[in-house]
């Protein structure tokens, strides 16, 4: 949830030793400095806001009379394997003129593909 995808940054965070060993901390205000706490709050806020925006999109798509997930999935699954990978997704986005970078594709796939297999199946798309 809070680890960046870039390895250098994530290693940096993982390498840090936590403040109060493994004991339960009563005074939670003393865990982080106010600046870090503010940034952490900003991050959580952004995640919540993202989820709500995606929910609005879901509702919008579901209201569309001709929206069929299978049709969209078939376009993503260009070779008809029953799943699509980050390469398929990248091709699809390029065809649709949606600007994307490798990092964007990985983040997008990680949203669909919760088991980290790199292959997004139809069931996973429905769950999104």
């Amino acid at each position: 949830m809070v680890l960046p995808l870039e390895k250098d940054y994530s290693d940096l965070v993982k390498s840090r030793i936590h403040a109060r060993s493994k004991l339960f901390v009563r005074n939670i205000d003393s865990i982080m400095a106010s600046d870090s706490k503010f940034k952490f709050a900003q991050l959580i806020k952004a995640i919540i806001s993202q989820e709500m925006k995606i929910e609005i999109w879901r509702e919008k798509l579901n209201k569309m009379r001709n929206f069929i997930i299978k049709n969209i999935f078939d376009k993503l699954d260009y070779y008809g394997n029953g799943f699509f990978t980050e390469y398929d997704l990248s091709d699809y986005l390029n065809k649709c003129n949606v600007p994307n970078q490798k990092l964007d594709i990985i983040l997008l796939i990680s949203r669909f593909n919760k088991d980290n297999s790199g292959k997004v199946t139809y069931t996973q798309v429905i769950n999104i």
């Binding site: 940054y9 709050a41 989820e51 994307n100």
Partner: protein, 385 residues
């Protein structure tokens, strides 16, 4: 143009109005399509304005048709201070507002709030000078065909209003392209230039002939409205489909045959056909709102692509925030987890999340917490490990 701005921009927030006015109008001038949300909101706004205008129209017609109606007398009922104008000026607010408009409406059994009073005043004060003169009042209360809105000058208008109209006309001629002058016809014009790609419906409506009919924009409001209603009926016929209509026609034909065979029962059959036709028309929906309230549907795939684009943008933003947080020396995973951890458990329930959000001073709703859990709950057991 000024009237149009007054319709679409909120009066409550002057700063918002300034921001909206100051935006570059390239898209408007070049007639580029609006976004779906903006277009839909505008259509809703116009629809409500049309409804309101019709209601006011019918009431004004009612008042004007009464032989004992004297508009100056009505005005004097408001203008209790005999200033010859009504005002919402802050210096006079206690005297004028309370003793003129508010006093009048309270006397008649309507108890308005301050914002109601301001809304009434905003409608009455056409030239936005903070005062409602008798001419402005007369213009609103008395029934007229609104021909001056489409550019025709009324000789009986007061000099101020005439100069205002001249100014706005010269402003439009000099600074705006001719197609920026909006009339009631432009509602149709807007729809025919819709950004929606599934606007194939417009082919069913004979827009071209309609536009050719009224393109001069010199007709009065009433004439335009009649044309609009005719087109509306055509559209409704098309919308329901020719099946309904052919059924209605066949019923009518059958009834005509029946009339020929049996003259004695002809009256009854005519009544039957009329009632059936009325029913079928009623099922079409007999008001303008059905014409305006079309489904604005983006092409499905385009919408999906737009969603992916949005997700990519938001992911980027979140990734930046994560990197920013990673640089903070005192930030680490376990400590951040403790903001939400209310016991020694290694996982979080919804209640723990809510507590954590309280501590972090993040406003939230139950729905948001549910979505948050759904996002990170890989095992579908309603907890975050």
């Amino acid at each position: 143009m000024f009237r149009f701005l007054n319709i679409i921009i909120s009066e409550k927030e002057p700063s918002m109005k300034k921001v909206a006015e100051s935006r570059a109008g390239n898209s408007f001038r070049q007639l580029q399509p609006l976004t779906q949300e903006h277009e839909y909101a505008l259509i809703k706004l116009f629809e409500q304005e049309i409804d309101l205008a019709r209601q006011v129209d019918s009431i004004c017609k009612d008042i004007s048709s009464k032989s004992d109606c004297n508009i100056y007398q009505i005005f004097c009922n408001f203008d209790t201070q005999r200033l010859n104008y009504l005002t919402l000026d802050w210096y006079l607010i206690l005297f004028i507002m309370i003793f003129s408009i508010e006093n009048f409406v309270i006397k008649n059994g309507f108890y308005p709030s301050e914002s109601d009073i301001k809304a009434i005043f905003r409608r009455l004060d056409i030239d936005k000078d903070g005062r409602v003169s008798f001419d402005e009042f007369k213009k609103i209360v008395s029934y007229q065909d609104y021909s001056n809105i489409t550019g025709l000058q009324n000789e009986e208008l007061n000099p101020n209003l005439q100069s205002y109209n001249n100014f706005s006309k010269s402003y439009c001629d000099n600074y705006l392209p001719s197609n920026n002058r909006l009339t009631s016809n432009d509602l149709d014009y807007k729809n025919s230039h819709s950004s929606m790609k599934n606007i194939g419906k417009k082919e069913r409506v004979d827009y071209q002939s309609f536009n050719a009919k009224v393109s001069g924009n010199n007709k009065g409001y009433e004439e335009n409205r009649k044309d609009f209603n005719n087109i509306n009926i055509n559209f409704q016929r098309d919308q329901v489909g020719e099946t309904h209509y052919s059924v209605a026609n066949s019923i009518e034909k059958t009834n005509t045959l029946e009339r020929e065979i049996n003259k004695a029962s002809s009256n009854t059959s005519t009544l039957k056909s009329q009632s059936k036709n009325n029913k079928s028309y009623a099922s079409f929906g007999g008001n303008t709102s059905s014409f305006i309230n079309r489904d604005y549907i983006l092409l499905e795939e385009e919408a999906f692509q737009e969603m992916l684009r949005d997700i990519i943008e938001m992911n980027k933003e979140i990734e930046l925030l994560k990197c920013d947080l990673a640089i903070c020396n005192d930030f680490n995973l376990l400590d951040s987890f403790r903001y939400f951890q209310s016991s020694t458990r290694d996982f979080l329930y919804a209640s723990d999340l809510k507590n954590g959000l309280h501590v972090l001073e993040i406003p939230f709703s139950d729905e948001e917490v549910e979505f948050f859990i759904n996002r990170f709950d890989t095992n579908k057991i309603r907890v975050i490990s």
